[in-house]
């Protein structure tokens, strides 16, 4: 495939713009992509780019339509997130966990936080979740994943459960 702009070089950068459910594709070579960088970043805003990435999760999972999925705490739906590229509250991360995990993996190349966490002096954490709560939650998600035959997800959860159990034992 040749570049849509210069029509000469091989296109290696592929962009998809989604407006109201209709999508448009743009194929660029590296040079044109770089030159267009500034313009492209504004034309295809972060929201659209993230929306495109968020769709990636859907195809991967092949799961049921998730547009109805919503956060019990703030009421944001997954569709709202897809449109705006911004989540509604901390709890959305929990509500959309299955779909955010592959998205985060694509953005950051990782799905496990390392580094600073609120110190012991800090008041009760975020979603009120301590390591034990987290373990319980992970085990539930693991069961769900196995029941839904989402084995890749299940393997990831299993590893998290093991790591957390080991950490709790050390304490």
């Amino acid at each position: 495939m040749t570049c849509d702009l210069c029509g000469q070089n091989e296109a290696t950068v592929h962009l998809t713009e989604i407006i109201n459910d209709s999508s448009r594709e743009l194929h660029l070579c590296e040079t044109c992509a770089r030159e267009k960088g500034q313009q492209t970043a504004q034309q295809f805003g972060l929201a659209e780019l993230l929306g495109g990435l968020a769709d990636f999760g859907a195809k991967l999972e092949g799961g049921p339509a998730k547009t109805k999925l919503s956060c019990p705490q703030c009421g944001m739906t997954y569709e709202d997130f897809r449109k705006s590229g911004r989540l509604g509250c901390g709890n959305c991360y929990e509500a959309f966990h299955r779909y955010l995990a592959p998205l985060l993996k694509r953005i950051h190349g990782s799905t496990q936080h390392v580094g600073r966490s609120p110190s012991a002096a800090a008041p009760a954490q975020a979603q009120g979740e301590g390591p034990k709560d987290e373990l319980a939650r992970l085990k539930t998600s693991l069961k769900e994943a196995v029941a839904g035959e989402a084995f890749e997800e299940a393997a990831r959860l299993r590893d998290r459960v093991r790591a957390l159990e080991a950490k709790l034992k050390k304490r």
Binding site: R34, Q38, M76, G88, C89, I107, P118, S119, Q127
Partner: protein, 364 residues
């Protein structure tokens, strides 16, 4: 301290000192934080945002570090004052206008979020520390330092953060770290950046190669005023892209290593130009100086381009009579809002061009 006091003072980050001050204008580290149980600003109702502001101000007042800082609510500020804060790098453009970068406003009952309601900024004495409230996230804490001082900036930021978190419970998960409105900031919530002045890499046409390489290695390049701005005056802001799965120290360490290499490249380009075409280089520098010294009308774009060459002249010892700190200051003072604050009244664009030219003639 009031907003007007800022007009006559120079932000710490413009001093032109610090390691590698001849290439690194400033170093900045910021953390994105959200209060637990409260909807993120863009999705929150006005009363919810007001509540966040109230709690944030309580946190600031209870912090020994931030005590006595200036708290400015954006709603009470004129458009000019807001632009003034943007020019000083104390708030983002989005924070000033009430918009959110790149995000389409969500429909329905939450659409009221695009306003300056309950948005605020907290600014410390010497403008080293600033804290935006209700921008994209509840809190955006930043430390700005002069020169290649990322570690020092982080030490200050870390101490402030330790104090604040005792008062303010943050949205945090053991798996994904600090939870932010945009998934690109989740994890450490950290964005570390340096503002580099790279005129000789631009002149020798090596800049694209360098930027391309560092982009592949996980850094982002932006212009003088951050996200969505073009590189002007040969200034490039380089920052980390990834914030999850990597610790704060690793982020800083990676950034420092890569920036060091960019600095070396710029140094080599400066040396090569001096060796191979000293006269041509000195000619460009002095012509830039001459224009700034004698123009009677000058736009801000032309000013930035020419000041960049003058700054290079100072750094290379070609112009021995000027100080780097003064040149840095002129980059900011010649911006539209600063000129109008200095003059004490609104100026239309052509009046600004005349006022700017006068300021430059008097200062150089």
């Amino acid at each position: 301290m009031t907003l007007s006091d800022l007009v006559h003072q120079t932000g710490e980050w413009l001093r032109g000192s610090g390691p590698h001050g001849e290439i690194v204008m400033s170093a900045r580290v910021r953390l994105a934080r959200n209060l637990s149980q409260a909807p993120f600003p863009q999705w929150a109702t006005p009363p919810q945002r007001a509540e966040v502001l109230k709690r944030a101000v309580e946190g600031v007042n209870g912090s020994a570090f931030l005590k006595g800082s200036m708290v400015l609510e954006l709603k009470g500020l004129s458009e000019l004052d807001r632009l003034f804060l943007v020019e000083r790098h104390l708030i983002s453009r989005e924070h000033a206008t009430g918009g959110f970068s790149g995000a389409a406003s969500a429909s329905g009952s939450h659409a009221t979020a695009n306003s300056t309601d309950s948005r605020a900024v907290v600014v410390s004495d010497r403008e080293i520390v600033s804290l935006m409230v209700n921008e994209e996230d509840h809190l955006r804490l930043q430390v700005l330092q002069s020169g290649f001082n990322l570690q020092e900036a982080w030490v200050i930021l870390n101490r402030m953060e330790e104090e604040l978190e005792r008062k303010l419970p943050y949205a945090f998960s053991a798996e994904w770290g600090y939870l932010t409105a945009c998934p690109t900031n989740v994890g450490t919530g950290m964005r570390a950046s340096t503002m580099l002045h790279l005129p000789c890499l631009v002149m020798t046409k090596q800049i694209n190669r360098v930027l391309h390489a560092i982009t592949k290695l996980g850094l982002t390049a932006r212009g003088l005023y951050g996200e969505g701005t073009e590189a002007t005056g040969n200034f490039f802001q380089l920052s980390n892209q990834v914030s999850l799965g990597i610790s704060e120290e690793e982020i800083l360490d990676n950034l420092e290593r890569l920036i060091k290499q960019v600095i070396e490249q710029e140094e080599a380009a400066r040396k090569a130009l001096l060796n191979q075409s000293r006269e041509a280089l000195e000619d460009r520098i002095w012509r830039a100086y001459g224009t700034l010294k004698s123009a009677h009308l000058i736009t801000s774009n032309e000013t930035v381009e020419l000041l960049s060459l003058v700054r290079l002249g100072v750094d290379l010892g070609v112009i021995p009579t000027l100080e780097r700190g003064r040149v840095n200051q002129l980059f900011i003072q010649t911006q539209p809002a600063h000129l109008q604050k200095l003059e004490g009244r609104p100026l239309n664009p052509s009046e600004r061009d005349a006022r700017r030219a006068k300021l430059l003639r008097d200062s150089l």
